[in-house]
Subunit: 211 residues, 2 copies
């Protein structure tokens, strides 16, 4: 349980962590007209399905040609990928929380000049958070796609389609996270932050493992 938005004490929305929801509850939450959870959460969970599949393939008893070198490389890739699943499910939660914070900031009072200034500051701060979370999702998917190549090269041939699905889901998650970064950057005024975030997004999307 976490406080999805607790900005200025104006609203506290408690929600289950997505990890603890059933798949049916997650799908219903995505389909509901509430602003969260949205694409950022779905992307992170799709990425987590991808890393889970890679952990499975890298952990199979037999590798492609069943050599010790392949098995050592797969064990290393598996160790790198395994902790990423939990990072992605955390990011699924953080994505919803960060966007709830944006919504909460927009609901702040704007009667006086002081209130207007405080509200603008709160919106900018919340939008920055809502940019940083999908940017971290993008970084995390990119980090998983590097060792994923080892799994694609050395994993048991009978699981090739599992590896293919995993890589496809991680790429879709990365592209979705990048779309969310860019969407939220649009509302930000800090040109330095915007330029740096856009440059990092473009650089990550252009990495060989994501192409």
């Amino acid at each position: 349980m976490f406080a999805a938005s607790n900005l200025g004490g104006c609203r506290i929305k408690r929600m289950k962590r997505f990890n603890d929801m059933t798949v049916a509850q997650l799908l219903a939450a995505l389909a509901s007209p509430e602003p969260t959870p949205g694409g950022g959460t779905a992307a992170a969970i799709a990425g987590a399905m991808g890393t889970s599949l890679l952990v499975m393939v890298a952990g199979l008893a037999k590798s492609r040609n069943n050599t010790d070198d392949e098995k050592a490389a797969l064990a290393k890739a598996r160790a790198a990928i395994d902790p990423i699943t939990a990072r992605l499910t955390d990011l699924a939660d953080q994505d919803a929380a960060s966007f709830d914070a944006v919504m909460a900031a927009y609901r702040l009072p704007k009667a006086s000049d002081e209130e207007k200034a405080a509200r603008t500051k709160a919106i900018q701060s919340a939008l920055r958070g809502a940019t940083e979370v999908p940017l971290e999702t993008l970084r995390t998917c990119a980090a998983a796609l590097e060792p994923a190549r080892t799994v694609a090269d050395y994993g048991n041939r009978s699981a090739d389609s599992d590896t293919g699905v995993a890589i496809g889901l991680l790429k879709a998650a990365a592209a979705g996270a990048a779309a969310n970064v860019r969407m939220n950057l649009g509302g930000l005024k800090d040109e330095g932050f915007k330029a740096a975030a856009e440059a990092e997004t473009a650089r990550l999307l252009a990495a060989p493992a994501l192409a």
Copy 2:
């Protein structure tokens, strides 16, 4: 609850429907070295996240230019997409069950010529099922991607990244399903069935909505 594999009475494995698992349980099941659930299940659930997001965007109070025509088109698209989520979560279950049936067929006895013949027949029958399920997943994702274009064209601009994630997930699900069709076709001997399934797979993948 369903019998995941009950071929020749040799093994009955009961499992929860994926809809009723928590996300954490689903991810753990995907990561486990058990042959199922695998990429076919992950692809179908990713597709279901995509259709859920599209239902959300198509159901928002405001459309892109907030015209009656747009809202009517979105309502029609939403009605077409909404039932697809449940079809995809059913296919997630069926995918695991069909592959469990393949595994069960391979475990049948093969001491006598009669047993060998029965086993070969059972394997072929199970592989055909394990091809038909991902082919249906591919058809279903393709069917969702048609009305998804209406959502992309007329959905509220503030949800463009949600629509983008949805379409990305449905395309990844379709590609993953196609990879599973082709993987399982490899083991089939019925050339007529193989040619027809491959032709339909190629045709669906080449559809404009999937390109």
